[in-house]
Symmetry: C2
Subunit: 222 residues, 2 copies
């Protein structure tokens, strides 16, 4: 049998949708960040505080991924940011096709930054590109300091690690923040790490600065 | 075209392995519980304390599922309980085939109870039967009280819900335990709910009683 080398990588359906999303976002000069964590690490609280604090500086939209309910979208809506809810009805991650459909329902032209809040799951979402410019992984101090060692993929792939809930009493948490930093940087030298409390607002400024600069870079690349 | 009704459900490979595991465990009169939660809810701490407290009453073995590392198996080993580590190398849940292989490496004949600690993930493990007698879902108060509403499947399928980390200051947690109980019971009338702190040992007795009774029932069913 003759072999034919077509000289092209054949893209999966998800990769093709991701590529299309990426092209659209780059044309529109919109930064897109895919936020990934376990359930309950504080993604939605980080988003609502970030949107409120950066009002007047950048225009933020949100794509909310949940298995069921629009509880998180309701919380985002209260900030007056545009939001589209995707219910995966059991699926453990968002797909690029779902994000493509959500982008059609967001006022992309008027936005500087789109956050995708993925389904709460530290494992599966890391394997599915959505067309984003970068991933943000969130880990709360209540989850334990062994998580980069035990769930390495998402820490290896993320641009930023937000260590959330630093307002919780450290003595009760048994959480060695230096271990997390060391383990995360072993996997990913370039990762930016910001310990924060989205609930109290503590230490959020470096995260805001990083975001504003990333959105500015996206704008100037065109 | 003629249709042939074979009158039999064709089992998936996972279901076939699960059925074999279930048969083996029933023959050996060993209770097997599949523990599922997000990363960092405290599964391993619950297991180590439970094993230590019930020493001399029932003989417990553990199958540890992790994506990477044997950190959790090391913690179990310190209790002197027999433990087998499975590394899924990226997969987001344990399979029944992996459990079958682990059972070959556990001294099943000498055990009354086997805990399977699944990969930390509130979504995917709930879709894969392993041959267990029941599922135990763990939710820590740090994860928020909206989790039964947002991740219903595992709460609908579990025999027991352990609400862990009740030693954490409730004022800082915004965790309405009554909301969790109500939402979980809407999905699953029969679910047993035990609020506990595996770290301090607080309120663990009802959980131990439930376990001892379940192990006794398994033994007497033969």
């Amino acid at each position: 049998m003759k072999k034919i080398n077509v000289g092209k990588k054949i893209l999966s359906a998800n990769e093709q949708y991701a590529l299309n999303n990426s092209k659209l976002l780059n044309e529109k000069k919109v930064l897109c960040l895919n936020m990934i964590s376990s359930p309950g690490s504080g993604k939605t609280t980080i988003l609502t505080r970030t949107i409120n604090e950066l009002k007047g500086k950048i225009k933020i939209g949100v794509i909310e991924g949940d298995i069921q309910t629009d509880l998180d979208a309701q919380r985002i809506r209260a900030t007056e940011a545009p939001v589209v809810q995707i219910n995966t009805e059991g699926a453990c991650h968002l797909s690029a096709a779902q994000v493509a459909s959500a982008l059609e329902n967001l006022p992309v032209d008027g936005l500087d930054l789109i956050f995708i809040e993925n389904v709460g799951n530290l494992v599966c979402p890391s394997a599915f590109e959505l067309g984003e410019n970068g991933k943000i992984v969130v880990l709360s101090v209540a989850e334990g300091d062994d998580k980069p060692a035990k769930y390495p993929t998402i820490f290896a792939k993320s641009k930023v690690l937000l260590i959330n809930k630093i307002d919780l009493p450290s003595a009760q948490m048994d959480f060695d923040i230096e271990r997390v930093k060391t383990d995360a940087r072993k996997l990913n030298k370039a990762i930016e790490i910001f310990p924060i409390s989205a609930k109290t607002g503590q230490s959020m400024n470096d995260w805001y600065k990083w975001l504003l600069k990333a959105a500015e870079n996206q704008l100037s690349q065109k």
